[in-house]
Amino acid sequence: MTQSLANHFQGPIPNVFDEVHAFWIAGGSCDGCSIATVGATSPSVENLLNGTIPGAAKVILHHPVLAVNAGEAFIEPFRLAAKGELGAPFVVLCEGSIMDESLAAETGGYWSGLGADEDENGDPQPIPSSSWVTRMSVHAAAVIAVGTCATWGGVPAAANNPTNAASVMDLLGEDYRSILGLPVVNIPGCAPQGDNITETIAAVLLFLNGLAPLPEFDELGRPQWLFDETVHRGCTRAGFYEEGTFAEEHGDKECLVEIGCWGPVVQCNINKRGAINNAGGCMNVGAPCIGCTMPGFPDSFAPFYKTPPGTMVSSNISRVTGTVIRNLREMSMGNLNRTTKWDKDGHVPSGWGHVKEPNLVKKVVKYAYQKMQFSDSPKPGSK
């Protein structure tokens, strides 16, 4: 302990790896996860890519939307990595669901392609995205599935889908381990909160350089510190739920459960973290949660914006208990909105409106309340 503490104060920040390559493979995706990543601020993509985070390796990103090169010049490193010949550590970031290419191949085609190989006539034929994931995963330091499509299947895997879409975990199987010994890491969300993505990448990079502990993941491979809690627990409207007051229409300020919020049973941190740079967040602005981070999304939460059946019991219980609690709180609040001087004067000198003086009942309650409050400590000003 003393030794490691001492190390903290001496020498440079360890840097085992200067550079780590990151291959971004988009399968059946909407590019929303890429866009979410670009929105992140803690850290930002430019920090990761410019190597301006001391202790974290510089990320050499191979991403179709941000690349300078196009076509074969862009694909070449993918080919090397798939053969294990890149000569540098790399992670694979997957966005989008994995389509069942065997279905498309039945009629000689593909669902999702990236790059092309020549066929027997020398004509280019697209390479299915999923074949890149399979081949590159063998040599990858980590495979990170980004967004609900890649982590669980998401919207392209919803009922009736024609492509048999599934997740990266489904593709690689439960026995898959990366070079670092990790199963597929899953960062869900449709799209994920951007910092959830960059923070997880940074955590892995800091781990690689021996600076941070191996990040903890839950039984579904989610970063445990991000997805441990329900979004309801961090909701700005949770107090309304507790007091049993509920929005009836879109736009109302109260808890949204009765107009379709699934927050109490959804693991997500957007209300605490905000959507971009701490701003926004679904219920913060007034929009019900439809569970976009969950493996059951979308079918288990449909039809969207209909009261979830599970809330019938709990919201009605809080309606009963909440009514009592709310009234008690309003009484306390009345007291707390007064200064000692105004109590003494028996009058509130506000020009904004007439503030009623407390009646006898309220005075008695306040007296009893304060007795308890200062039962074993001095009341300020009493000595």
Partner: protein, 624 residues
């Protein structure tokens, strides 16, 4: 008379009817592309300097786009082009049979780049189908939300996707002769952006390191912060609902949005100044650049931003509320306005799948719209998508994108179409900030740190890659001022106590209800066509901007916009050996459209045995 090719005529009262006496009114020519391929094959075999130039993927575009061209590297000419969408996801199939309430959130996932427009367009389609009229503040807040979306989208494209092609780093590789020239060329707009020479600007366009690149990244975040204050998150806002928005509008929300919006006033001046300097430099250095990506200004747009005193969602009034929008819907053919009516825009649309991985569908359920205007069997309300993945073949099928046309013409779409239409048509409402002159749009940008300035975007003589990008830059002040105007309106509504943002609605359990949503994506034209049958979605079709732009050939052999624009592009890049050729001119031409592939293809299953109706979306986010 807006239709020249479709069999639709109008009587003296202006009512449309189907031309009589035609055996098959909707027949069209079918051209065999095999011959062209044979000729090309011969050329390729005989001449070493004629080469296949393939980009898979085309990078710095959103989504899965591949592009094939045959280029004569000696004559510096493009001989043939094919545009390919390389992804298919099947959203239309997934939507079929669902509760209409799911449409906004499922279809939103068509594209994560234009994060909120699909949800909005879906909400509009449902509002039309089910007769739901949002309250004024709901409409106004929606306008603000969707204007802010463009404030993120346009800088992202200009500096992160297209911008590197004009940066010192890339130009030094492809056209070193321009570097010295740029060093000697004084920047005309130094007063707003501070750069002395054009080369100074180009250096700061360098990817990842350049100050303008990094500034754009951070400005996209400022816009997105403002966006998520109303939308909850980006992409895929949670708050867009049929009938308005699910947002609690407080003084803080409006203040926090405003504090971010005003940062785009000075930035508008800067961005337009930067791109005017860079593009003028290229066009003056070598007039041949005017041909890069050139094609006629034949384009269409849905219009966007509804007026709270006009919009009632109804089909019956859609020509009126459409023309009242802050951006005017309609069609331009070779730069001339041929219609500004949503009903005519709608009726002229068809989709063809002869060169796409789909089978042709049968049936012609809706022969006319509610006004009696004839609808083709290829119209989205009649279309079914039957995906059939197959081998890529230039003479047969080569894309997951379809070939949409309006009045049998391939159409271009873009943010710039929004401004072009509006400036030309002069139908948009009177405004404190915007003036449409018929040849230009004048945009009065209020003072922030810089003094107030009136920016003017002029309709250009040639429609090329540079003008597309320049116009997109001017769409930043345009969108910012529409947001500002609507923010002022929101304040007025709140002053008058009109604080409702949504109306409740019921899903009718019986009957057929049809509607379409028409709203602009960051890249322009976007429609959702919806049929609700006995309370569930029976058919859902999306046409996105990139569905239009990335289209393969029509059955009669006309090229899609990317294909045409690249074919017309001269090769001005300098290279010694064919191996060194990078194709910057072709890529500039493609990227000027702001391709966005995720929504370009969607499908919807017709029934459980995998019959699929395809929904076309116009951006790259649609291919599943």
């Amino acid at each position: 008379m807006c239709f020249k090719n479709l069999p639709i005529a109008f009587d003296d009262e202006g009512n449309a009817y189907l031309k009589e006496g035609l055996k098959d009114p909707y027949e069209h020519k079918v051209v065999d592309l095999g011959e062209e391929q044979e000729v090309l094959k011969g050329l390729l075999e005989r001449n070493g300097f004629i080469r296949n130039i393939d980009y898979d993927p085309v990078t710095r575009v959103a989504g899965a786009l591949a592009f094939h061209s045959v280029v004569d590297l000696e004559k510096k000419k493009v001989l043939s082009t094919n545009s390919m969408a390389t992804l298919f996801r099947g959203y239309e199939v997934i939507l079929k049979g669902r509760d209409p309430r799911d449409a906004a959130y499922i279809s939103s996932r068509a594209c994560g780049v234009c994060g909120g427009v699909h949800a909005t367009t879906a909400a509009l389609a449902i509002e039309m189908a089910l007769d739901i009229k949002p309250p004024p503040l709901g409409i106004v807040m929606r306008n603000i939300l969707l204007a802010i979306e463009y404030l993120y989208d346009h800088p992202l494209h200009l500096f992160l996707l297209a911008g590197p092609d004009y940066s010192e780093e890339l130009v030094r590789e492809t056209n070193p002769e321009l570097i010295d020239k740029a060093a000697e060329t004084k920047a005309k707009n130094k007063d707003v952006h501070g750069y002395d020479t054009v080369l100074d600007i180009m250096k700061d366009l360098n990817p990842l390191k350049g100050k303008l690149y990094l500034e754009a990244l951070s400005m996209t975040r400022v816009a997105r912060e403002a966006y998520v204050l109303i939308g909850g998150k980006y992409p895929h806002p949670q708050s867009v609902v049929p009938g308005g928005l699910s947002v609690t509008v407080t003084a803080s929300v409006l203040n926090e949005v405003y504090s971010r919006l005003i940062k785009f006033f000075d930035y508008s001046q800067k961005v337009t100044g930067i791109w005017d300097d860079v593009f003028d430099f290229f066009l003056e250095s070598n007039p041949e650049y005017a041909k890069c990506g050139i094609r006629p200004a034949t384009m269409m747009d849905t219009g966007v931003w509804d007026r709270p005193d006009h919009y009632d969602a109804s089909f019956a009034n859609c020509d009126k509320w459409g023309e009242a929008r802050w951006s005017t819907p309609g069609v331009l053919v070779d730069g001339e306005v041929v219609t500004t009516k949503l009903t005519e825009l709608n009726a002229g649309i068809e989709e063809f799948v002869e060169h796409s991985y789909y089978e042709k569908w049968d049936g012609h359920r809706f022969k006319e719209d509610a006004n009696g205007m004839p609808l083709s069997p290829n119209h989205p309300w009649n279309k079914e998508t039957i995906p059939k993945p197959g081998k890529q073949s230039w003479k047969d099928r080569y894309s997951w994108d379809t070939a949409p046309t309006w009045d049998r013409m391939p159409m271009e779409a873009g943010a710039y179409t929004r401004m072009y239409m509006t400036a030309k048509a002069q139908k948009a409402p009177a405004s404190k900030f915007l003036e449409n002159t018929g040849t230009s749009m004048k945009i009065k940008v209020p003072k922030h740190f810089l003094p107030e300035k009136t920016l003017e975007w002029k309709i250009p003589e040639h429609w090329n890659a540079f003008e597309r990008n320049r116009a997109r830059a001017y769409c930043i002040p345009y969108s910012a001022m529409v947001a500002m105007e609507n923010w002022l309106l929101a304040m007025d509504l709140i002053k008058n106590g009109e604080t409702k943002v949504s109306v409740p609605y019921e899903i009718p359990k019986k009957g057929t209800h049809i509607g379409f949503g028409a709203w602009g994506a960051g890249r322009g034209f976007l429609t959702h066509h919806l049929i609700v049958e006995n309370g569930v979605i029976e058919n859902y079709q999306i046409i996105t901007p990139s569905t239009l732009n990335a289209a393969p050939r029509t059955p009669w052999g006309e090229m899609g916009p990317y294909e045409e624009a690249v074919l017309n592009t001269p090769i001005l890049e300098k290279f010694d050996k064919p191996e060194d050729y990078k194709g910057i001119d072709i890529l500039r031409a493609i990227r000027s459209f702001d391709p966005c592939m995720p929504c370009t293809t969607h499908i919807m299953a017709k029934d459980s045995d995998h019959m699929v109706t395809r929904e076309v979306t116009t951006c790259a986010c649609g291919v599943e």
